[in-house]
Symmetry: D2
Subunit: 142 residues, 4 copies
């Protein structure tokens, strides 16, 4: 069972990832080490041609990884991103984009994961972006 | 002399980098291969503690590099980011953040640069983030 | 069918990736968009504790991606690496390491893929490293 | 004054970075937060055209950063690389390559730096590669 629910995550996000709301990002699914998140298509963040912009994709990757870390270790609000590497692969289709995150390593100090981003309706086919994200985890009182 | 002015860049950005406006990002200086850009402190994009969020820093790095490329090759609107790698180094101070971009390589197909981000009032001291950004440049009709 | 055989690749590698031989790296399997490569355990490249070093893992990731590109587009010897991002996840076990590469995007100018590296005997379990690698593909006479 | 001398570093490198020797890498200068390292031109690691290969550049960047960390915190042998991101910018000239490393952040748990690599005789001009490297620092007995 994941160590945090969608509702608990959204509550934390309202305080600590306020960009999620302004970027139209929300979680769709949280399992143990499995997260799906979505960024709604929003005209204020468009690229020419009506597709979502790079910062939305980066914000989505960051938020998905934050939720992934919490699915594994619980609501550790002070976890912070230390590195994000993203390759932009294809122009997204007009419409929402969807991210799935999976863990590569969960250590006591660092969590590293990868995030695939797809255009809605094109999942599991040609990713529009791929990111690896590292979070630093604060010392835990176990 | 830079191959684009701030005004020309802002005009392009209104069409092709619409996130700049929603993120409170604008150019402050453009020289040949030298760019300074700023993200205004905005409560809707805060991290806990009143500092700017990761996506703002990533958007700022991307926009500064886009302007840098245009300072060198002119208004090539179809240049697109292919890779962005960012290390988050320190929590920014509350307030604006400022980015300076410089070129590492300008080839016929790829432009690679690095961007340092500082808290306003702390420039040239301890960067809050450092990014390397790659743009793909479309074939040019010279 | 892959556009290059192991034998053809090894022939090219002898000329253009001479480090493969000095690093004890060779291909084990090449399919269309699927590559497995191995680095032999070699005492001259050890980290303390008898495990392979970072440069071997980076060389292995680079070589696996080079073979992957050729499996898709044929023996394009002048393809060059433009970016490599690697996360070191765990200390390898003493012994060989094995890389599997898969493509994220094959464009006309850039090929981007990801590489997982495992300790032999521990494949499909806990990767010791994960890399994303970008190759620039020269203009092709089609 | 740097917290380690070249001699002390080379002694540690013989045990813990054995690849340095096989790759012809050695330190040339160590100051506090300033390191210069060199990779000798070696025929067994060539790319076509007689230039040094990618793995040598990656090994050189890694070694320069390891020395940089020790110049700041002393001989902490158990520091390990967690991330390396490298952009290959130009084909090196035939001959040695030289790396200079500088720190971006020295924290209690992570050290992040950047490394510029030049062809000998072309320093301070057009870098052949640029890397950012993160080391994880073990808890210290202060």
């Amino acid at each position: 069972m994941p160590k945090i629910t969608i509702e608990e995550f959204q509550e934390i996000a309202r305080r600590s990832l306020t960009f999620m709301d302004s970027m139209g990002i929300h979680l769709e699914h949280i399992g143990t080490g499995e997260v799906t998140a979505r960024a709604r298509y929003d005209e204020s963040f468009l690229r020419p041609g009506g597709t979502v912009s790079g910062p939305i994709m980066m914000g989505l990757a960051d938020a998905a990884m934050y939720a992934l870390v919490m699915s594994l270790i619980g609501p550790v609000e002070l976890a912070v991103t230390t590195n994000l590497n993203i390759n932009f692969l294809r122009k997204p289709l007009p419409g929402d984009i969807i991210a799935t995150a999976k863990i590569l390593k969960l250590g006591s100090r660092l969590a590293i994961g990868e995030v695939y981003i797809y255009s809605e309706g094109d999942e599991e086919q040609a990713p529009v972006a791929h990111a690896t994200v590292t979070y630093s985890i604060p010392p835990r009182s176990l």
